[in-house]
Symmetry: C2
């Protein structure tokens, strides 16, 4: 195992936990968890893709540390974030007689973490859980912040809880099995974080190491996971339940991204690419609304390009995008709010009225159309 | 409306809310809630028994206060505390486009409060809710403490959250429609509270007013709801998430009660009568284990008798009761724990080994058998 980086997340309610980042970190998960939680039984929740590889390894380590370990595999993909699958897991926990002092371990990407975290948050009114994120996106974003939940047929993440893990183990060795789309999803959130992070050194580091990251260099990956996780942890520390506005910065690029993903049909355009596109759009909007320097826009474009997050060659009707933004739960009841950057490290939450937004959306759709035709 | 009693519940996380107790308190619920929560939309959840009466009244008051109000009625009875019904309510909230700033109002007994509270705790990771308990049991027990949840096929309350209401309105006028069983359920928890409450004056007041209560005297009812709610609120203030042992006293009488209810088949023997029987049993166990004075046992028996909670004429195999106690989630992994009284106001959590417990259970079953034969 490479040297571990430990990020401490200190929540306002007095609780805290550690995110461990290292290549090979899973080797010590048994002893780490046992030191935190001397319980008898653990249930691992994973999916059918990563379970046979990583859940099996985690199970072995926990058993060596003295746990009785059960595991449950759910189908891979977003459809597992459902009340029905949560219900099966609750029943599995009950049938295995896990009690309030026992442990749930989520091994997988964001879907598994959100689902298993929600099940842990609500089984017997809350049992402890450990996150083992296996995708880049989960390591830098989904596993941090305590947001857990499942989807309803009529909308994503409509049912859930805030529930923090007691330990998160990000083993960058798990990244070896990622698809190109998985990498793009991670890079999208990393790029976003580097722009809104209050320390400019994050952006500069990312700009200087984009090539290493695209080559999946071990050291660069560990560094970027640690930097991004630490950034998000700091934000979450200040606002664990999304009750102040501090967490808003995490939505940079997401207003348009959600609309693009919905318009294209979920899964058609990856989240990371949609976020990157949303960042390009928001930066241009900021030039008009906040008089942000066009130099910032160019730098951000270059950063996204260097991470392989090129402009989307996809378009749709601007009215449809506006309608989808209006339907987004964060936007209901008024003008649509955007996180708009002044520059790197400095942003503002701005309400943008529909007319102005339509001008920008129309221009965007037109530009996209040309890109599609050229494509 | 009679003079309101307001009980303030101050939780350790800094939040607080008010329980309002009065005959006719529902008359002002609209203005009270509007002062707390200037939102646009509220969803009332009630059941098919009380909904047509009380939910209709609450709806009217909220509409007068400026809310847009939807309502959802679930079937009456424990079977509505299911994941399936919760899922229907989540979808109803989503279809009505309620957002995180909106409000859910639970109008009914413990089943409705637990179910609707859980839905509120988890819809969009938690929206505010108001409790309008309409049974005596819900007013003095179920609506206080933030425990929300639903049942699984294999066990009660296995899925849930801790989620405190922002306001509770206990209108004793709602008690007029209660059944004898409903009264017994309330009196059981009231009697329990009076025994473990740290102030002896509660027991003495209850002893002196049992007759008035059985006659459903308005003033006595308001007083007992306020006293019992205040007692439970004080306990909950010290331990909102059941993480210290302070809340254990609330389980007085419940160890045997749960086993009796399960052995008889849920719904066959009311919760209040089962709790009263559990108190009688625990008091006798305390005489042996803690050398509790037999005078206490006699006084407690007299109190229960005076509240119409006579000894149960029902028996079963003692082995079965022991097995059910062992299966109770609170008892797993060792000797069974009982809240045992030294006297009024003073209790202790005691592990009772199986052999001693079987001696007492056998004696209890034998005594019950005679009662059944005599009956």
């Amino acid at each position: 195992m490479s040297e571990e980086r430990e990020i401490s997340v200190n929540l306002k309610d007095g609780s805290s936990y550690t995110i461990c980042v290292a290549k090979g970190a899973l080797a010590t998960i048994g002893e780490k968890v046992a030191a935190l939680k001397p319980c008898r039984t653990a249930m691992i929740v994973s999916d059918e893709t990563v379970g046979p590889v990583y859940a099996t390894l985690v199970k072995k380590r926990l058993e060596e540390a003295g746990y009785e370990v059960y595991d449950a595999l759910v189908p891979s993909g977003e459809t597992s974030k459902s009340v029905e699958i949560a219900s099966e897991l609750w029943q599995e926990l009950a049938q295995r007689q896990l009690c309030r002092d026992d442990l749930l371990v989520a091994v997988g990407g964001g879907v598994v973490g959100d689902l298993a975290g929600f099940v842990a948050a609500t089984y017997m009114r809350g049992i402890d859980f450990v996150q083992v994120p296996t995708t880049l996106l989960a390591m830098v974003d989904a596993s941090i912040g305590g947001k857990t939940g499942v989807d309803l047929p009529c909308g994503k993440n409509l049912v859930g809880s805030f529930h923090q893990p007691i330990y998160t183990c990000a083993d960058t060795r798990c990244l070896r099995t990622l698809t190109d789309e998985d990498w793009a999803n991670g890079f999208g959130e990393i790029a976003k974080s580097s722009v809104v992070c209050s320390e400019r050194s994050f952006y500069e580091w990312l700009r200087d190491h984009a090539e290493d990251l695209c080559a999946h260099d071990d050291q660069a990956l560990e560094e970027v996971v640690a930097r991004t996780a630490e950034f998000k942890a700091k934000v979450v520390e200040q606002d664990a339940t999304e009750s102040s506005g501090i967490r808003e910065c995490l939505n940079y690029g997401h207003t348009l991204a959600h609309a693009i993903e919905a318009a294209a049909g979920y899964g058609e355009i990856g989240h990371g690419r949609a976020v990157a596109e949303g960042m390009r759009f928001a930066a241009r909007l900021a030039v008009q609304v906040l008089e942000t320097d066009t130099d910032f826009v160019a730098k951000q474009d270059a950063l996204l390009d260097s991470l392989g997050l090129e402009e989307l060659a996809w378009t749709c009707n601007p009215d449809r995008l506006l309608k989808l933004m209006k339907g987004d739960k964060k936007a209901r009841g008024g003008a649509i709010r955007f996180v708009l950057p002044h520059d790197f490290t400095s942003w503002e939450l701005v309400e943008v009225d529909d007319d102005l937004l339509m001008v920008h959306l129309s221009a965007w759709c037109e530009a996209k159309e040309k890109l599609v035709e050229a494509g």
